[in-house]
């Protein structure tokens, strides 16, 4: 047993030796190190990494370090590090992270760095101007929800909600006769308010006014809430319980005719071998409005802590990252919608029916608000939206409570 203790210590001292040894392998300190934080999904990540590799081959004096962080975590980690005077040089993410970053003054206004001829190369929808400054340049627009349909089950996508319900009723059935439904007309992550927005806008509603005040206690909210509930309880074309992963699994297994999801998911359905198309989420018959999903850019910003000496290097890399070549690489692999005017005119974009359908949906979408108040609104919508679906609250009461809670949260947040 003494032997055991001894061997334990020998082992660990060996490990410590290894540790010290391995930490000595320092790289060439002459190189300029540029750090990028991003939250790109798996497929996109590889495109970015190979683009960066190419860049480093062309610029041997620069070492670029690309770090992935999950969206929420990127936001809080960036706030912590940038406020403490550190953090990455370039930060990539969805446009709504700009709201808090602007208030905390942890990103640089880009119009002071780039000249207007450079900025004019981009589609205006791909630039994020906020409070008079340009804070983010997108490498893609969209990130919006649309309707995916399994061509085997739905040859022609519905144009209106009543058509959708008709198709859905036919498709929702018990195939193997065990008394359990095993194919659904429509599935989506209906517990999350972000996925409720197309319905809200389809009935003419929106989350806030131009000043950032919540506008949730409206006729539109009530109607949209009731409509989602009716899809499940009256028309019975969506499952009893459906979160993101349930919807995803049902569509991948070919057990769902239609799905509401966004561009990030396309890769997975191709991989699963589903023959699918993309269409606009169908028109709401009552209002004649196209449901408008939230449209956002995802793009790059520059850390306020980047010093004068390093800035030229960072700017050069930044320009490369949003260049038409790199954007088109993304489009080729993932079907993202580019922001650079040259890239938008490219054949890869023009000839892809999925991208064109996605653009068509985007055209009826509404830009996602950048103000931090949106987070308070999500937090206020979530519990009451779920309460309506859980059958513990009626839609009128829920709309009223959402509004009340949103006002309270915004007040707490802004004090």
């Amino acid at each position: 047993m003494k032997h055991a203790v001894k061997s334990f210590f020998t082992f660990t001292s060996f490990v410590i030796f290894l540790l010290l040894f391995s930490s000595c392998s320092n790289e060439n300190p002459q190189k300029v190190r540029i750090v990028i934080w991003h939250q790109k999904p798996p497929g996109e990540r590889e495109v970015l990494e190979s683009a960066v590799k190419k860049y480093m081959e062309l610029h041997p004096e620069v070492k670029v370090i690309v770090l992935y962080k999950e969206t929420e975590e990127l936001r809080s980690a960036y706030i912590i590090s940038a406020v403490a005077g550190k953090g990455p040089d370039i930060v990539y993410g969805p446009s709504d992270q700009i709201g808090p970053f602007e208030i905390l003054q942890i990103i640089k206004p880009l119009e002071e760095i780039f000249d207007s001829t450079f900025i004019d190369q981009f589609d205006p929808r791909g630039l994020l101007w906020y409070k008079g400054h340009l804070y983010q340049i997108g490498d893609q627009i969209g990130n919006h929800l649309f309707l995916l349909y399994n061509k085997k089950l739905v040859p022609k996508p519905p144009k209106t909600m009543s058509e959708l319900i008709e198709i859905g009723k036919k498709l929702t059935k018990d195939i193997d006769g065990d008394g359990k439904i095993d194919q659904y007309g429509l599935v989506w992550n209906y517990t999350e308010p972000f996925f409720f927005i197309p319905f809200l806008t389809g009935f003419g509603g929106w989350v806030m006014d131009s000043l950032g005040n919540p506008t949730l206690n409206t006729e539109a909210t009530v109607k949209a809430l009731n409509f989602v509930r009716e899809l499940r309880d009256k028309y019975k074309i969506i499952p009893r319980e459906c979160d993101y992963n349930t919807a995803d699994a049902l569509f991948k297994e070919g057990r769902a005719g239609m799905l509401i999801n966004g561009p990030w998911s396309i890769g997975g359905y191709k991989k699963a071998g589903i023959d699918f198309g993309i269409a606009r989420i169908p028109k709401v018959d009552e209002t004649g409005l196209w449901p408008a999903p939230m449209v956002a850019i995802k793009g790059y910003s520059i850390n306020v802590n980047v010093d004068e000496e390093k800035l030229p290097y960072v700017v050069d890399l930044f320009k490369y990252l949003v260049s038409p070549e790199v954007q088109l690489e993304h489009t080729k692999v993932l079907g993202t919608i580019p922001t650079h005017k040259i890239a938008l005119e490219n054949e890869i974009v023009k000839n892809d029916p999925l991208i064109q359908a996605s653009i068509s949906q985007m055209e009826v979408g509404k830009p996602m608000p950048v103000v931090p108040e949106l987070r308070a609104i999500w937090d206020a919508m979530r519990p009451y939206y779920q309460a309506v679906l859980g059958g513990t609250m009626n839609a009128e009461k829920a709309a009223e409570e959402m509004q009340k809670l949103a006002l309270k949260k915004i007040e707490e947040m802004n004090e």
Partner: protein, 280 residues
């Protein structure tokens, strides 16, 4: 006597049945994780209950080692955890001994103080901890995470060692000291070996608190070469497009070293080398 033996066999049989059923229930979710790792299209969920899915493939495991620097993460995590384990065992075995064997001023305060360090919600400690590490130049260094992990492992380990020492009669050391040992020798030669089961728990716990930790590691280690398994695994996650196959495969492989360590250590946890046998 025969009646007793029959009773014993019956009890043993019942225990076997119980253990088998219980173990099956316990490992069922893990079988599901295996199933996820074998699914071809990154599905976290499946509508079928089959453990080996249709078109099962080992692709995720292959990709894990070919497409990602998984071995590098494994090595990094092993280094960090091993050092935390060593410092944990060293510091907890000594501190626990001092707390078990001596009376001194402020001892109670120290004992409770140790627990207090664990009571503050960790979420809020992250920002000041980060600021502190920047000031100490410990960002992107293993030393930084090792110190933090050791500090989270120690409170339990120290208390646990102290508790175990308390069950070892002090007369053993007194005898040793009469035979000419000094206090340190009495500790190292007599008590330390007897506390082996507790040392095993301390080692295992220290190792585990470092092995799969994510939050601190992600904030401190921000260079790909320094990544640990937990940060690496997180790379497969993404807000809405997680690579579940890789994630599940990675998680399962991450658990193997921990289980091996337990297998190795549990020889000493349940060996016959207990107090009773030594004392007799």
């Amino acid at each position: 006597m025969d009646k007793n033996r029959a009773k014993k066999i019956l009890v043993d049989a019942l225990i076997y049945v119980f253990l088998i059923v219980f173990t099956l229930v316990v490992i069922y979710p893990i079988l599901n994780v295996i199933s996820i790792s074998l699914r071809p299209a990154d599905k976290l969920l499946s509508t079928s209950l089959r453990i080996v899915p249709e078109n099962a493939s080992l692709n995720s495991y292959v990709q894990l080692f070919t497409r990602t620097p998984f071995l590098r993460w494994l090595l990094n995590s092993t280094l960090i955890s091993a050092v935390v384990m060593l410092t944990g065992v060293t510091l907890a075995s000594t501190a626990g001994y001092a707390l078990s064997r001596f009376r001194f001023l402020g001892k109670k305060a120290v004992m409770i103080g140790i627990l207090i360090t664990q009571m503050f919600p960790a979420t809020m400690l992250l920002l000041p901890l980060y600021i502190m590490l920047i000031k100490l130049h410990l960002l992107n260094s293993y030393l930084g995470v090792i110190i933090i992990y050791t500090s989270t492992a120690l409170p339990f380990c120290v208390w646990q060692m102290k508790g175990y020492y308390d069950t070892i009669p002090v007369s053993l050391e007194e005898a040793a000291m009469i035979d000419g040992c000094n206090q340190f020798q009495a500790f190292y030669k007599v008590v330390f070996p007897l506390a082996l089961p507790a040392l095993v728990i301390t080692a295992l716990f220290s190792f585990m608190s470092a092995w799969a930790e994510y939050v601190v590691a992600a904030q401190v280690l921000q260079e790909p070469e320094l990544y640990t398994l937990a940060i690496g695994l997180k790379q497969f996650e993404s807000s809405m497009a997680t690579e579940w196959g890789l994630y599940a495969a990675g998680s399962l492989i991450v658990s193997i070293p921990a289980v091996l360590l337990f297998l190795f250590l549990s020889r000493y946890l349940i060996s016959g080398l207990t107090l009773g046998s030594v004392k007799g």
